[in-house]
Symmetry: C2
């Protein structure tokens, strides 16, 4: 499976998402984990990308540190041929996708399908003049947005904040190049400066909380990271209409390998600056991924259209059902052991499903309640479970973030192992 | 056609590739050009991406400012089906492509085909332990390389230099975020500092010159931008074996829309830092583009393999023939008018074609010789030709850079118009 052994090795090449704000951040993570994991790898690429996942050995390390969304693979296999694309050799030669558009590297078909799926779900305002900017994942757009919102000609970098626990990649992404425009300034609740940019992630990574900006001043700006604001994860309570809203294929359809995100941007000048950033940093965004994503999103929307009654094609139904099952099993297991706790379940009326539903976050924010355990991540590693420690989110080291989107076989092993801890 | 009217409008959203080293660079370019161009656009997307190019109106502005490689479309149409890929809906869900690899987001098939085409052409050392790092275009890898080469813990940013005329995008890409690690420091020949990073583009953009690093010191580092070191543009005189070498699909096969480049990197730690940069800035690179590029490159190499005698499938033959024709026509036209000059033709023995051949650069570095003309770009604009002014390359404003890789119909109009200037 994807996140079992192999990606754990990959993680070795990734620096820990620490909170360094100066210096290069490309140190290696703790060697012990890596070596331990690497030594158990047998079939390097097996199951990496669509092949049958290998069986999980009883002593294998399962890596749930990242948010790899391979749970969705089963859905797309079921959908089959109608989600496939064929791309001829002569297509996509030009840098341009639509030179008439403010975002000249945005494929018009992809744009159409993005707006269509938002209208279907009702999670974001896409009309009323919102500009769409495509990026190499929401990650690139987050940086484009900081660039666009930084005051020109400022004496020093503007502070970038988010309330703890915040997404652990925010600090190292923000400070990757030690920009003269912006700089990570930590927990928004501890911030006492004036001008700043606040990152508002809702539902929040890592803990699933529904959030609004906590700071506000004349000179404050917000970037809304709404990548988990889809009906499989949370009740859709209305169409968000913030200044800058980020989304990604990775979390709505599970196509993380496409590296494709989009921003809905209210202000034309801000959108133009974001386009400029993406132009300068990568001269646009893969057309191939956009062409493919347009097809994938069309299949998603078509399944809820008139005349389509094959319910197996309904992505949100599939994912919501799967998430519901997983959260029920996880909560039961946690309740049974007494060794852990989870944030309380929340619920609300969902405008998309037309019923009151529980939230099923993409990550479990698991707290170890055992006496003597100060670092939950370290404790779980002793049980061959890799999860990301709470301190990396500016939070409690007794917490860890656990991916809820991996394949069934991995999730099952997670539950077995958690259940065995008393 | 791609670079006729429509991309000119797109260029309006792109800031001019000026040499600003401080402040945000996202100003709008000169409005007159944009408006003039926009007003003549009728069919927005016609011919943008594989459709039949629209006829070029007698008063239409032709935009040869960028290096859009749409010349290659004719080749890939001729190749037809065998260069097409089909991607199923369930493929590419994971962030990982090969977690065992140092570059965990590098598709193994793409890696194999990249190494294979370099071995076929003989333009770069790919064995001897070179690491391959994939990026969202050579543009992202150029930034990754600067990041990787910047000294850790330095008091101030290291200077980044290149001898003028240098690629006009180097300065604004370098200073996009005003990094604390590195900063654009201009013409390498005018540089008198110590530690620095030199960008060595060979064949050089904009003038096609063959270059070696001009600076050297104990603390100097070089990034070799070899994106034009392919047999259609220049004699292949040997396998380059520099510390960091950058290549891109855009210039070898013409697939600019894929946003796919690669770096061959000698030092493992440097490669790891580059991987870290790409991870943090975009969490990897589109799998869809890599899958497609693997196929495209396989078709290129197969065509020169044993048992294949369909010469229509030989990319380098096609492109070299086409470039040779264009350069002969351009030189004849320039010689006839007397209003312009071009760098002298150079030639050398090519190890790939096994003959002495002329260089046919991807851009023409055209100098206006008419008395009273100080700015060639402005002068050509008066003749409905958009080209990039020499001052943007740190060079002479009497020069312009003209794209030689656009479609035949556009190139023909260029020649007609240049020929009419006396």
């Amino acid at each position: 499976m994807t996140c079992l052994l192999v990606p754990a090795v990959a993680c070795a090449a990734r620096a820990p998402a620490g909170h360094k704000t100066t210096g290069h951040g490309h140190q290696q993570p703790k060697i012990g984990v890596t070596r331990g994991v690497r030594s158990k790898v047998s079939a390097a690429r097996a199951g990496m990308d669509g092949g049958a996942p290998p069986a999980i050995a009883p002593d294998a390390v399962i890596n749930l540190e990242l948010g790899d969304p391979t749970m969705y693979e089963a859905f797309w296999r079921e959908v089959g041929e109608r989600a496939a694309v064929a791309i001829p050799g002569w297509s996509g030669m030009s840098y341009f996708s639509n030179a008439q558009s403010l975002c000249w590297f945005l494929d018009p078909e992809f744009e159409r399908e993005v707006r269509r799926v938002h209208r279907l779900v009702g999670n974001a305002a896409v009309d009323d003049g919102y500009h769409l900017v495509v990026g190499t994942g929401a990650t690139q757009l987050f940086q484009a947005a900081m660039y666009a919102l930084s005051p020109a000609g400022a004496q020093r970098p503007v502070g970038v904040v988010s309330p703890a626990p915040y997404y652990s990649s925010y600090p190292p992404q923000t400070d990757l190049l030690l920009s003269g425009f912006y700089r990570w300034a930590g927990d928004a609740n501890a911030f006492d400066g004036d001008a700043h940019i606040e990152l508002v992630c809702s539902p929040n990574n890592p803990d699933g909380a529904i959030r609004e900006a906590v700071l506000s001043s004349e000179s404050s700006k917000a970037i809304h990271d709404l990548v988990y604001y889809w009906p499989q994860y949370t009740p859709i309570t209305g169409a968000a209409a913030h200044d800058i809203m980020l989304f990604t294929m990775s979390k709505v359809t599970g196509h993380a390998g496409a590296r494709l995100g989009w921003a809905l941007v209210k202000d034309r000048d801000v959108a133009k600056k974001m386009v400029y950033f993406v132009d300068r940093s990568t001269i646009g965004v893969s057309k191939d991924s956009q062409v493919r994503a347009a097809k994938i999103l069309a299949v998603v929307s078509d399944a809820y259209g008139p005349g389509e009654d094959d319910t197996r094609l309904r992505l949100f139904d599939f994912a919501r059902r799967r998430m519901g099952e997983r959260w029920r099993v996880l909560r039961a297991s946690v309740a049974a052991t007494g060794a852990f706790s989870l944030p309380e379940e929340t619920a609300g009326y969902c405008n998309f499903t037309k019923q009151t539903v529980a939230a099923y976050p993409a990550f479990a924010w698991l707290r170890c309640e055992k006496a003597g355990v100060e670092e939950c991540a370290e404790f779980l590693r002793g049980h061959s479970i890799v999860a990301r420690g709470g301190e990396q989110f500016g939070g409690d080291a007794r917490c860890v973030r656990v991916n809820m989107l991996d394949r069934d076989s991995v999730f099952d092993v997670l539950i077995q192992r958690l259940s065995s801890i008393t």
